[in-house]
Symmetry: C2
Subunit: 801 residues, 2 copies
């Protein structure tokens, strides 16, 4: 839900079909509520057909003796008695008005505004009934299905069932379409048709699912004489809503109120219960002081969570929209609760459930493997896809592949103990996941545990950042020494130059990198330290290690040096190279994979996170043919003995395929060109697909703020590093500076991009003194601009104080 | 699908509502197909209403000049023009016949039989149209929704859309209900209503989804004069299906044929393409010789896969049902594609997508945590639930918890190197997953890799098995020596005794175990080997290590000895104890968790597999309060720094909650008592929830077969160990003996439990010389009896030869 008030109980009425009695049954509910001395609001967002037949008139006419408690409204009226999308088109054609069809956004905001007005105009107990048109999926004015158009509001729902022949089917199908979009159904009402007796079938059906069903008598047949019809109809409503306050309709009102109360009580209880039972990942429970420190997520839609707080906000609602500023741990690509992804998941669940994968195949898994290997990040080098459950397990698989490939080629002289101690070459600040194998491929630092036994050598890499509007390559001390330089910072002019690896290969800096890397590796060999067996890199950005943007030239030259000059064969040379693209892959930083930019491809790579569009866990390890062949033999035990129960689960594969389909379309239609174009035009960059969803002017100005040490952006990512003596994972400086940003504030000048135009907060994350923000691949520009305004204002205030 | 023939193209016609023109449009399809010289079959499984109005008569009347190619049939007829379930009830009441309403099974088998008859009677190209009644969810005779009743057949579908007001909604909702059950929709047809113009909206809608839509003119209005009506209607069909062979209806026929061809080509291509691109877990690709070694899974329903083979089987179908005899890697509890689990997944996807979990909460996650901690496997000891992605990651979490708890209490003197080498106490044959940390908690054996560095001491445990009908505890050499015994086998009389841990605690054998364990641990200490920091057990059964049923008394005493006598405090004593219940938990072996049987509870436990009902990956690590507190401080970096992107993903949580709901109901209603009762009555056992889904007589007889070394069963599991000199993971003996069982065979006497009564195969698994079979928790007894027959026959033949 996007709004929830203590005293105003809002329900949306959906019909299982057209002409099933929505208005009649809503009239009865309105009358019953009013007769209990509630204030009652009735909203028909869109009405089609002649005004004299309009639903709100009927509602008013039969509201009973407490009519004065009723307020009705209709937002958009059309005369033609057809589907709203056609009525709107006809009106447009007749009136010759262009562009006058209200958008989904307008419709949703109008309803939300009406709800807020109801709430503020009525401090006492009240009901609001919002009656939709036609069936659940009937198109709204724009042509979007009502279910999808109204979804950002996610109002609690009453479903009016279909009492006629075929009505069991349409009622259940409508219920399933509601469920697919996450709606809560509080009650089902339908007429008591004594011939078809649908209610007899549907009552136990819905009660099994915890939903109250009421069967209500039909209204009397229409009488030609208007006066007589009025009397007969009024009598009907008197029977449904008797003076004694007891009837099936009153029971429905009780049920709606009980659902409303339970909803608030439940949300209210979540923080305490969670603090008592859940053990969160990465959270120091000793620092979670009170229930207020728990983010209660009621639901989510596109870029926004709907967050509950037990005290009403400025606008009176218990719920606040919060921009998902970390793309849900960097997994979201297309926003929350995307209906196409839901349907893809449902379709695979309905066709397969799960299937055990060894030596078996199914279409969703094969399709995904093929597109990743042949057309995706594996294009040009990979031949095999290995499935597992998350980035960490996929990295364990990658490491097992690389270590085996190494020992097959070089390892005849290695005993078991030596194999256990094979090391990897990586970078300081790397992170590959939290299972021990993936941890062992990283330095021991903050992310550690008893069994963590880091095996390898980690270079401190040069990085790229924006400082005071300039594009800076920062050198670590060792490289400064190699250069004989006294300053760490090199102004490289533009992002476009910084990421143009082929051109930079011929610069003096490249020579410095080459010499430094070669010398370091040579020294390691001479000193007889670890035997190094693989290179493991997060290309371009080290995410969890602190959003470190590594100079791509350094990574390219590292690969070149390790591979030596004989890199033209089909097989790997030097050492196997692993690219961990869990974070950077699939357009998170604006490119599908990093190989084309770096000009080198790995022997093994890993994708996860965006892969399944932020829905279910799944990961893929891609490998070249020579890596695959290292496990081939006639001996069962030489196989890659790694697997998880749900390997290549059809739901994950189907969702991944759908996610990649949608992303491909976004890329083809150049959905994000307006941001891109601005980057191209600025001095910062723009070529080589190096650009950002964030406005270059905003980024530039931000980089000049006094408390900002440096910042960097690529694709959907914006990382801001604040000046802080302490720094590191334990630092709280970013959190302190941005404290106010989680709360909901709305600039008076700006329009909120959140559902219903409500003031919104931002759910962002920090890594020590780094705060980072992230968008989805389809976040509208207007939303990003609003988020930029919020960040700016928060920092501006925070720095001034 | 459960049937697929090369020449017979079968389509099921579903309606978006009643009275949308299913019969008229099917007539047109029948006529067009026949006029192309196809043989055409038309089946109305259930017909209601007077015979003179019956759909099959209309079809025949207007089949056109090629009428001789048409064959129509109707399986069940009722006169009342109401929903089939009511018509069947009315007929029953009127005729006074009891129990005469055909079951879903009867209906499905009758349709399948009809399809097979059509195929064998028509070697040339043919179409079969199966017309359903009413809307997609209209009840069949038994009251089950048609969609669910016919689901085991999963016939390719034509959806007849609704052309009237509200029809956009009912058409899309019906489509979504079809998708939720995995149906493929080949075409949508609807009338071209020029006022409501639904087709204009629906055509692009379905084309975007890759589905052909045809809008067809309405039939002429009915004429009172029968003769005239006939002429006018015949003229209508002549226009729809003209002599020149070109029209929208012919295009639909082309589309249906193209879909059919593509379907077969696609399935046909899967093995080769999979062999070229996929890297399977645990599979030695060097031993996969040909495409025939790849199991192609078209779909699945309840206990059966639908398997494609490029050559037609004995019954002519390209598809064979195969019993999922390993419960899809031990994950299935409720069968494949369970509609309630699909809807639970869809509901959570539609409401949340995913949400980042640290310091946040949502209802599905909290509910699951609470029920596992308070009412589930954590009851009586756990206070916290930690989410991760699979059994392996959950075990890494468990190990991190235990090692930290140990070092906090005992570790002040431990340096970093000593912490890396802390060891665990386990059993030989253990398996906890394939990430390096979980591997390091197991001996180095077959499941190994370069970085595997096993840290701990592993006891060889005594085991329980059934040999020659006797219940035997087998002692390993070390225990034989302790006892001074020359034989390894002790006949303990019954399973009931073997698993009655409290009674056995006072036996001499218990004393032997106690002394042996204490002495061994003392020796390890004296010899200054590894410092042992935790006990890690798979209680009762070690699954992946070879389906080893460990003597529970030994595990109980191991825990007792480690904990010492001071076990009464709230905190752990001795060492933290981890129970890995990934395989045995949640009723896989007939009990929710193993603590009550063993009489001791762990400090940390792990659940996965059944947890999410065989749908999506997710795992839970439960912990006691004192373990949780070991990570509490004011220092961020003391937290349990472990997490995965999709931690506590709402879909997994919602599916887990639904799975546990359904299992609870099964347990409450004692769904499986008939098997249980037989076990109680036999001498084998039955008390203490120690019983099996497998028939005790079958088990007993099997154990006496000459090639069977021993076998064992608990709950859903049946494990058979064959005599084999070689043994071990590399052995092929079980596979060789049971070779024939994968193929489809049907005893002439017995009725197949597979969808449509087709001959079925069994998809079973082996671990070296052990073959194991598994059921779901809701597999019908009749199905298990049939599987037993198949196993018996296969072994009987194999051993005779």
């Amino acid at each position: 839900m996007s709004t929830l008030f203590k005293h105003l109980r809002v329900h949306q009425i959906f019909g299982a079909n057209t002409d099933v009695g929505k208005t009649v049954l809503t009239s009865a509910l309105v009358r019953a509520s009013a007769s209990r001395n509630n204030k009652v609001f009735y909203l028909k967002p869109v009405s089609t057909g002649p005004p004299q037949d309009a639903d709100d008139r009927h509602i008013t006419r039969y509201a009973g003796s407490h009519k004065h408690l009723l307020h009705t409204d209709c937002l958009f009226r059309y005369e033609e008695p057809v589907s709203p999308h056609l009525a709107a088109q006809l009106a447009l054609e007749r009136n010759g008005v262009k562009g006058a069809i209200p958008s989904d956004r307008t419709l949703v905001d109008s309803i939300a505004n009406y709800i807020r007005r109801c709430s503020s105009s009525s401090p006492q107990a009240a009901h609001l009934f919002v009656e939709t048109a036609g069936g659940v999926h009937s198109p709204t004015l724009s042509g979007t299905s009502q279910l999808d158009c109204y979804r950002p509001l996610l109002l609690p729902t009453i479903l009016i069932g279909d009492a006629k022949l075929g009505g069991i089917s349409s009622t259940i199908s409508s219920y399933e379409s509601l469920l697919l979009r996450g709606y809560s159904i509080d009650a089902v009402l339908l007429f008591r048709d004594v011939y078809y007796r649908n209610w007899e079938y549907l009552k136990p059906y819905f009660e099994e699912r915890g939903i109250h069903l009421a069967a209500i008598d039909y209204p009397p047949p229409r009488i030609a004489d208007l006066e007589e019809d009025l009397v007969s109809t009024e009598q009907y409503y008197q029977t449904l809503v008797p003076q004694n306050g007891r009837s099936d309709i009153y029971e429905v009102i009780d049920c709606l109120d009980a659902c409303h109360t339970r909803r608030i009580q439940e949300l209210d209880s979540l923080p305490r219960r969670t603090l008592d039972t859940v053990w969160w990942p990465f959270v120091q429970h000793g620092l979670v002081k009170s229930e207020k420190d728990v983010t209660v997520i009621d639901s989510a839609a596109s870029d926004f969570f709907s967050i509950y707080s037990s005290h009403e906000t400025t606008q009176g609602s218990l719920l606040t929209p919060q921009f998902d500023g970390s793309a849900s741990w960097w997994t979201q690509a297309l926003g929350h609760a995307h209906p196409e992804l839901t349907l893809a998941a449902a379709g695979a669940a309905g066709r397969y459930g799960h299937v055990m994968f060894p030596q078996a195949t199914h279409l969703p898994a094969l399709k995904l493997a093929e597109r990743l290997v042949h057309d995706g990040p594996g294009k040009g080098w990979a031949t095999r896809a290995f499935f597992s459950d998350d980035g960490s397990t996929a990295m364990e698989v990658a490491l097992k592949m690389a270590l085996r490939a190494y020992t097959i080629r070089y390892g005849k002289r290695l005993d078991a103990q030596a194999k256990k101690n094979l090391g990897i070459i990586g970078l300081k600040g790397s992170y590959h996941g939290d299972t021990i194998g993936s941890m062992d491929a990283c330095e021991e630092g903050v992310y550690t545990c008893e069994w963590h036994n880091a095996k390898g050598y980690w270079f401190e890499p040069p990085t790229i950042s924006i400082q005071q509007g300039k594009i800076i390559v920062s050198l670590p001390p060792a490289l400064m020494a190699t250069m004989g330089s006294t300053t760490s910072d090199i102004d490289v002019g533009s992002l476009s130059w910084a990421y143009d690896v082929p051109i930079r290969l011929d610069t003096p800096l490249a020579e410095v990198y080459r010499e430094y890397i070669a010398r370091t590796l040579q020294n390691l060999k001479v000193n007889g330290g670890l035997e190094l067996a693989a290179v493991v890199l997060e290309p371009l950005v080290m995410g969890a290690g602190g959003m470190i943007f590594v100079d791509p030239l350094f990574q390219r030259i590292l690969v070149d040096v390790v591979r030596g000059s004989s890199g033209s064969s089909n097989s790997w040379t030097g050492l196997p190279i692993i690219f961990d693209e869990v974070f950077v892959g699939l357009y998170r930083i604006g490119m599908e994979s990093t190989g084309p930019l770096l000009g080198v491809y790995p022997d093994i790579s890993v994708n996860a996170k965006i892969l399944t569009g932020g829905l279910v866990p799944m990961a893929i390890t891609l490998a070249s043919d020579s890596i695959f062949k290292a496990f081939m033999s006639n001996n069962k035990t030489d196989a890659l003995l790694h697997g998880h129960s749900y390997t290549a689960h059809p739901i994950g594969c189907a969702v991944a395929n759908k996610t990649l389909d949608i992303i491909e379309k976004l890329v083809e239609t150049q959905h994000w060109t307006d941001a891109q174009e601005k980057w191209v035009k600025t001095s910062c960059g723009g070529r080589n697909n190096v650009w950002s969803f964030w406005d270059p002017d905003f980024v530039n100005t931000l980089s000049r703020m006094p408390k900002v040490d440096e910042l960097m952006t690529l694709g959907t990512v914006l990382a801001i590093k604040f000046k802080d003596e302490q720094g590191g994972y334990g630092s709280h400086s970013a959190q302190t500076l941005l404290q106010s940003i989680k709360g909901s504030v709305l600039d008076e000048q700006s329009v909120s991009p959140a559902p219903g135009g409500a003031p919104f907060g931002i759910n962002y994350r920090t890594l020590g003194n780094v705060a980072y923000f992230m968008t989805s691949l389809n976040t509208p520009s207007a939303t990003i601009r609003s988020v930029e305004d919020r960040i700016w204002n928060a920092l501006d205030k925070s720095l001034a104080s």
